[in-house]
Symmetry: D3
């Protein structure tokens, strides 16, 4: 069986891409050892590509009260709730690496309530899932419940905005039928040191 | 009763904003006659502001097989499905103006199936709502059903990507409890010329 | 494009209607300046027409602990939850007029949690929506939560019965594809006096 | 254990009721041998009582392309979908009697797809359930699917209007916690003649 | 109209069954006076038959803090939530007999919140329905809420495991379109002694 | 952080178990190299243990028109839909091994529509998910859609019965908070040979 294409849409060649986009992609390739398909598939539309990754970086690389692993937990939990194959697999790998934990991504993708995470992280994910799935029902009590675990108002923006950004990201991955790189499936699956 | 604030988060003063953001906001104000609250409330985080509006413009102002009114229909229909007060009111006003039609926004916000729009537009909105609400269930038949109305593959990306972007936008509006400007409620409610 | 008919079913002429129904309709026309389509479309079945408006009046015009504006809020909020185009538009107009407020109808139709209404009114609408959407799950705690805001047992009947009556009304409007009069869209959209 | 009251609200005494309502109730009692609790509990509000039963009779006793048993099937199927204890039990009894069939009420209350009814009746109930549960999604194809079984446009109004009226009725029964008479449970449970 | 078959699959003859299965079935027949169709229809696959009834007996006939009537309440309530015609009718009859109560089965099948049962039994059914419908969302608070009514940890296993077993059973009944015996509909419908 | 226990309930020691259960567990350990926690946690109740595994083996080890990998696909897809952490992880490992494919388990757990499987397998999983999530809505068309891919009636029983058995299994895993062995996470994640 021939595996499906990376995308339902044309995937540009690196040499045909605008310079800034090609540079970004090459930098990722150098760091990761391969080019995650989200870069190649979204490069079909350069302006949207630029905005997408600018938004991603603004949320995922800023100074924050959330660790990078916690931010990836939000991505994996909300992508799991949305059944988004690309995001579960790709961000699951990143979460394993950041958390130095081979188990947590599969746990959080399935059901954060059964994951080996702290009560504070469970509260964070409960809030993220409400933003992801029923944001119109957000009320003051939801904010208070997370703040009770020591999160600041800015942390709450981070949690909600990451959930919101991956609401977009999940839908784009489904729209183009984005295929995760095979490399992601095995990354970070080292035995956990106890 | 004191009306709620524009946002759950601090709203920066124009004079405290980075130059590029202030220029963008002043340009909008000059054109619209007022500053839509989405600009003031998201300016709390300049980097996210820049990415948000870059993404918005990339989708809503590009050349497309969809008219600007059709793109706003997608915004209003998906925001209606998500019960997003800000986006229904603000983009409902924009839709009335682009469509030169005082009725269509309220129709589409409530139920596109009963709206005075073409079968082609109903197919477009059915696809947009599937992306917005159940994108993991998208299958080839969904794409074929819309293409049968003469939409191109790139038009389908536009439809889906607008639905995806406002999935983000709706959640951000709910996260910050974004309040629509009073001006929006009445804009474009001129009698329709038959 | 020819606008859709008022109803999927035949709409009787005024002169063909039974005397009591014609009189009622003419009285409404004199007061409102036009004949709301719910009267013309339901007149297709005179006995059901009589029962429908007798029920409506029994609930909406009786002495009550709820103001007329509050009763219309219930109509608009539950019709919004049911995506009923006719009822949102027609009763939105009535709500704007009774409340002397140009904004509240669109707010409540979208999401009562973000509306400029009192906590007491939010509790009223939470109860109304539970009756409208999940009445089998009503338990004593739901009644207690509303009573805590000073509503009497009879007020609770009013809230629940209005939600129940418009559960019927929304379904009839969808069944016949009832079209709202254009007059409703603009009614009561005067600037709010603060 | 003391059984719950007939209603969460006061139940008037027959002698305290307006003459027309008492007459109606006594007529029912004479015919049925007991007074169904829906009469006693709704009599708490005479005007609503009159409108409720006028509406009921207009739908359930008019000349129609639907038999009386078919109309009760609609009541039982939609009340089953709404988990309405009173209506399932009371109208289940009436359905057994009209259909001269001891089994069909329990079948239809649980799942009409597994009931011993005709394909035409299954199409009727599929339409009724769509009106009951998702009327905003009604489209021309739904009407066509039922008409294909020989139902007229007026029959479709009957089906939809009965589903709509019992959407009201189910919610009122839940609001007042209406208790079915014990007589209903056993009525019509004669062995079916094969 | 010819009634549907007992099952979508072949129903073996008693004389063709393995000895242990025939013996079990004859024993049931002797006790009940008829052979419930679940025995005949599942006997199509002897190994699955044996495991199914071994599991059933392990849960329903063990020593337990739950009475046999309470265990049948769990079956009827969860089967009602799953709209399983066979299980509602067959286990409704068994519940009536064990509880010596002609009303409770129809009450619990429709809506346990309106049933004539104790608060302890309502808490038991709330837990059972969460296991049946949303087990991934079970959290410590759910266990605590039931324990507060005096149930032990082993009782909680019983409640949950019965709900889980009938999640299987309901799906098998739907898969084979299992038809309840007519005898079940009338069993146990004796007048309740007050 | 101390990892959660294997189960919310006591986990028996091997030496305290009945002989047949201990033998079964030791045989599994010899074959797999470790004892999957489902054996240890369910052994808390020996009779239920015996029935559970007898049922499992009757379905998963019988001669069938489905390969063992296909049967595990059903387990993983339905467990994914039910958010069951234990079953996704443990049966995902088994699926990888049977299918000799490092990717398919994560694909099917997330969204079978995007998995590298055949159209026949997608039809199989669509049927399995309907049994798992909405079995009361099964109609003849569902059976016909799968048969069109060459499945026999007995294959359909297999598909449906596996979905039904894991409806039970998922709920038991959630009830006891069953923890997957760490070994499962990495099993079968060898590079796929193309």
């Amino acid at each position: 069986m021939i595996p499906p294409a990376l995308s339902r849409y044309p995937v540009p060649k690196l040499e045909d891409l605008p310079e800034d986009i090609r540079a970004r992609i090459l930098a990722v390739q150098e760091k990761a050892g391969f080019i995650p398909n989200v870069f190649l598939t979204l490069a079909h539309r350069p302006d949207e590509f630029r905005a997408f990754f600018a938004y991603h970086d603004a949320l995922m690389e800023r100074e924050s009260g959330l660790t990078k692993a916690e931010r990836e937990m939000i991505v994996v939990a909300t992508s799991g709730a949305n059944d988004c194959h690309y995001c579960i697999v790709a961000h699951g790998a990143i979460l394993r690496i950041y958390a130095k934990n081979a188990l947590v991504a599969d746990q959080v993708a399935a059901n954060y309530r059964r994951a080996d995470i702290t009560p504070r992280q469970k509260a964070m994910l409960a809030f993220a899932l409400k933003v992801s799935l029923r944001s119109s029902e957000l009320v003051d009590e939801d904010f208070a419940a997370v703040r009770a675990h020591g999160f600041s108002e800015e942390d709450l923006w981070d949690i909600g905005a990451i959930a919101a950004f991956f609401a977009l990201s999940n839908r784009m991955a489904d729209l183009v039928s984005m295929r995760p790189n095979e490399e992601f499936f095995a990354l970070g699956r080292i035995p956990r040191t106890k």
